[in-house]
């Protein structure tokens, strides 16, 4: 080959493996030679944005300072373990599956759920809850590069027929929802809460984030992933390896273009039945102490699990790739290394225990195959039919991945007005507009989505997805565990700092209204192209805001995930740092048994309705989806509000309560009137004040005997409150003089998303 040809060869290779010239130089100097053919895919996978966090790592380090004494085993594992006392510990994490879900919604979402569940039970914790955070584009938009007609729909266990929706976005919503349900329902983990947003910025790049919560009951041990003990066996358990998902990690690390459709073969296919068998069998072998360490095969499959286990344990590993169970005889070693076939685990087992281990898995119909052994020296040997393909130190691949200090600017306030009187509001006083809200995709009931999820399997669910936040009962102590997700895209669009603070505080306040104090956070940071300074600036501002909020609330960030390159043909999504929160209720188990947790909707005619404010930021909507604000966020005041709300439910009986959110006080009162009782305003409040969103306000319904206590509580806490009306049967008469036919409103609300997307449940 002449030099010119060699150059072209190299260019092709770099492009194929998505490795930059600078990275190639780094590889050469690390190895002291040219990479061998089998090493290219290793670097490609482990140094992808998805696996190495190369654009975000230097900023994510800030989360480290939020960790406190309640977090165990944080370093190097999938997630930190939070000690709740009484030897009850939880572990949770949220992860994105945006790219696959846009290409193939059912399998994309399903395997997203499968992946996050494996992250949890690989730590020895039984998954007890799932939550999801979804962002879709405007209904009735056909994204580029994708066919109108549904393609590649898989037969599901939970009833999947070919979608008949005419528009692609409706098809995506339906597919994602069925995928989440199809997987979660089958494995028997309840989906207890979630959030669904619609905005045109997600037209060409939807967000599918799944969160799983696992519980370690008293006496159960945390399982770790670091490989240990030279001579120990490396055991492969689970589904056979196919060619699905090869280069998946690299795919998730670049932007979409017109050819996205061609990426369909990169999307993995999941089988929840296998996952269920894996959950039960893995938890059993861990309980019987048959395993030294364990790791799921997630992004970059066998490569990342083996290299990470060895690197963390500071040992080596010899792998016989030809021993890996395969379902396609034409599969090549490179594909075995990179395959993202689902439902697979890698275990380290002592030789003397291997037979018992294998018979345990056999009971569940699973093969546990020895594919290698642990070596003293820190090197990975890859063998293929007796030939040593390479011997390479895993440490530099895992720990010395490139780290980029992408250009960003210090955060400056966006869309801020100096004078409150400048704060404009679209003319939202019109009754017609308000009536539309009940059926509007942004505001209407999500019942058509969440009723496709099993919310009660496992017998821990106290409040499911038809409530603002989910509440589970911890089976041993009987205490309440709250689960909530956050991030409101309209606020992120307005200002990344306030939006990210709100992504933590809004759900924390929602939990507090139910008497639950947030104890820890997970994040799933969905952003556009990090090589664009304006995106990177929003990323850094968000990480800083989350860190600051986490510290104020003393709720550490125990795990996280970054999804960059949510960009299609140069258009980026709204920066969306989705948060997952878990909180703990009072010590007293009677909190759940006594039924004293406030409801979401009005409970009784004649009860007083109060508005409580710690108003710091006032938001105006200038035109459709264009927001501006006045004021400064005050995290101290908001933290006091969280503490006050949490304490309130322990002292005063609250009939119902809700945070004021998008749509302002008016919409909150309307929503609280969608149960069996309505509302009548006591005095005039201007339309602007009624429909303008304010950070933060909350509405409370209190009965006559508790009113005095309620007022004294807020007087003592020096928090502003006023009685604004009372609960009445059958009417909704707001404080700006508008009144509504509740029956019609309810009808429209209950039709929910089916009004826009026909084939939902």
């Amino acid at each position: 080959m002449n030099q010119e040809n060699q150059k072209i060869e190299l260019q092709k290779r770099l492009k194929h493996y998505r490795i930059s010239v600078a990275e190639y130089e780094m590889i050469k100097s690390l190895l002291g030679r040219e990479p061998k053919p089998i090493e290219w895919p290793l670097f490609s996978a482990l140094w992808s944005e998805h696996c190495s966090y190369k654009s975000s790592r230097m900023h994510l380090k800030k989360f480290g300072k939020t960790l406190n004494a309640s977090v165990l085993n944080a370093a190097g594992e999938n997630a930190g373990v939070v000690d709740l006392g009484y030897d009850e510990r939880i572990v949770f994490k949220m992860e994105s599956h945006n790219h696959p879900s846009f290409i193939e919604p059912y399998q994309g979402a399903a395997t997203g759920v499968g992946g996050i569940l494996r992250d949890i039970f690989t730590m020895g914790a039984r998954p007890i809850a799932l939550a999801d955070y979804l962002c879709f584009g405007e209904i009735s938009v056909t994204p580029i590069g994708l066919q109108e007609t549904p393609i590649g729909l898989q037969k599901s266990t939970a009833g999947s027929e070919t979608s008949t929706t005419g528009n692609r976005m409706g098809f995506l919503v339906d597919g994602v929802v069925r995928g989440i349900g199809g997987y979660g329902n089958s494995v028997g983990v309840p989906t207890v809460t979630g959030q669904t947003n619609f905005d045109k910025s997600y037209d060409k790049n939807i967000l599918v984030n799944a969160m799983a919560v696992g519980l370690l009951r008293p006496g159960e041990k945390v399982a770790l992933s670091a490989a240990k003990g030279p001579g120990n066996l490396v055991v492969y358990v689970g589904a056979k390896t196919g060619k699905d998902g090869v280069h998946g990690a690299a795919m998730a690390s670049e932007s979409f273009d017109e050819n996205s459709e061609a990426k369909k073969p990169n999307v993995q296919i999941g089988d929840p039945y296998f996952e269920k068998l894996l959950i039960e069998s893995c938890l059993e072998v861990l309980k019987k102490d048959l395993v030294v360490s364990i790791q799921d095969m997630g992004a970059a499959g066998l490569t990342s699990s083996s290299f990470e286990m060895a690197s963390k344990g500071n040992v080596g590993m010899s792998l016989k790739l030809d021993q890996v169970p395969i379902r396609d005889s034409s599969i090549q070693p490179e594909e075995i290394l990179l395959s993202e076939s689902q439902e697979r685990m890698l275990l380290i087992c002592e030789p003397k225990k291997i037979q018992v281990l294998q018979s345990e898995f056999e009971k569940w119909g699973l093969d546990a195959v020895v594919v290698g052994e642990v070596l003293q020296e820190r090197k990975i040997e890859l063998w293929w039919k007796g030939e040593l393909l390479t011997s390479i130190d895993p440490y530099p691949l895992v720990e010395n991945a490139p780290m980029y200090d992408r250009t960003f600017r210090a955060w400056t306030a966006k869309n801020k007005v100096i004078d409150k009187s400048q704060l404009q509001n679209e003319d939202i006083s019109k009754k017609k507009y308000t009536e539309k809200l009940f059926g509007h995709v942004q505001f209407t009931s999500r019942k058509n989505i969440y009723r496709q999820y099993d919310q009660r399997v496992g017998l821990n669910t106290v409040r499911g997805a038809d409530h603002d936040v989910a509440i589970l009962r911890l089976p041993d102590s009987g205490r309440a565990l709250g689960v909530a997700v956050g991030c409101r895209p309209h606020l992120m669009k307005m200002d990344a700092r306030i939006g990210a603070q709100d992504a933590v505080y809004y759900p924390a306040l929602q939990l507090a209204l139910r008497g639950i104090k947030v104890v820890a956070l997970t994040d799933c940071l969905n952003f556009g192209n990090p090589e664009r300074p304006e995106i990177m600036s929003e990323f850094v501002a968000s990480v800083d805001a989350i860190t600051e909020s986490s510290l104020k609330l003393k709720a550490p960030v125990i795990s996280g995930n970054v999804s960059f390159y949510n960009e299609t043909l140069g258009e980026n999504i709204i920066s969306t740092p989705a948060m997952g929160l878990v909180g703990l209720g009072p010590e007293d188990a009677s909190f759940i048994n006594g039924g004293q947790i406030p409801q979401d909707v009005f409970q009784h005619s004649g009860n007083s309705v109060y508005l409580v404010s710690s108003a710091k930021v006032f938001i105006g909507e200038i035109s459709k989806s264009q927001f501006q604000y006045f004021g400064e966020p005050d995290l101290n005041a908001w933290t006091e509000l969280v503490d006050a709300f949490t304490a309130l439910t322990r002292k005063v009986e609250i009939s119902a309560s809700q945070m004021v959110g998008r749509g302002g006080l008016g919409w909150t009162l309307a929503q609280m009137s969608l149960g069996n009782y309505g509302y009548k305003g006591a005095f005039a409040i201007s339309s602007n004040e009624l429909w303008q969103e304010t950070l933060y306000q909350a509405v409370f319904e209190v009965n006559e005997t508790e009113s005095k206590k309620f007022e004294i509580f807020f007087q003592n806490n020096k928090i502003e409150f006023k009685k604004i009306g009372e609960v009445q049967a059958d009417i909704l008469a707001l404080n700006d003089g508008t009144s509504f036919n509740l029956k019609e409103c309810k009808k429209s609300y209950e039709l929910g998303l089916r009004g826009s997307i026909e084939n939902l449940a």
């Binding site: 266990t157 009833g159 089988d271 496709q452 399997v457 759940i592």
Partner: protein, 216 residues
């Protein structure tokens, strides 16, 4: 060991996911639960009754309940049924009993072809001599969670079921398109029964209803 009212077998298939819930329910009711694995044969004398829990046994491959109905443990279950032993199938357990021919009819895809999780009101059409036999209330309030819950049988069979007082429970508002609003049926001898709703998920106030408590 705590003295209990006797042993109840909980049949466990790979893919069952309400097995642990049903096990817990049995224990809460002061019986001794015991798992019966899908490959097992067991001594019938040992058990007061059998429960077949919900889930996605064998991954719902082929049809929900189809493979489980043909698993080894079902030989013992069938024998237990023939001797008059009480058996209850819940959700997927109901599907298994229907597939095995121990109960009449079939459970097919919900009318809207989507999984449904919701609360339903039920009417007891004919009381069962074993399960919820002491129920005296008007409407039962229980949760459902299924994709294949639409009760179906040919017209002739439906008539026989109705005439034989084999309809156990009916939905007050039909959620899934079940014929004759059927939520639960019994065999002719009434010792084998199945229902789609989940009584084990409604046994404490904090769950939203206690109507399931009466089933055992």
């Amino acid at each position: 060991m705590k003295k209990t009212a006797g042993k109840i077998g909980v049949v466990r298939f790979p893919g069952s996911n309400c097995d642990q819930d049903v096990y817990q329910f049995v224990a809460e009711k002061n019986y001794t639960p015991e798992y019966l694995w899908h490959l097992d044969h067991f001594d019938l004398k040992d058990y007061l009754a059998l429960l077949l829990p919900g889930g996605f046994s064998y991954g719902d491959y082929l049809r929900s309940g189809a493979l489980s109905a043909r698993s080894p443990v079902m030989n013992s279950v069938r024998e237990f049924a023939n001797r008059g032993g009480p058996i209850l199938g819940i959700c997927n357990g109901f599907q298994v009993l229907a597939e095995s021919g121990l109960l009449p009819g079939a459970l097919v895809k919900n009318a809207r072809l989507r999984f449904i999780d919701d609360w339903v009101n039920l009417k007891v059409e004919n009381a069962n001599p074993f399960w919820a036999k002491n129920w005296t209330g008007d409407k039962m309030y229980l949760p459902i969670a299924h994709g294949d819950g639409r009760y179906y049988a040919p017209a002739d069979d439906l008539k026989k079921i109705e005439d034989g007082d084999q309809i156990w429970l009916r939905y007050v508002e039909n959620p899934n398109g079940s014929l004759l609003n059927i939520a639960g049926v019994m065999n002719q001898k009434k010792n084998v029964a199945g229902l789609m709703p989940h009584p084990e998920r409604a046994i404490f106030d904090w769950m939203g209803s206690v109507d399931g408590w009466s089933f055992l």
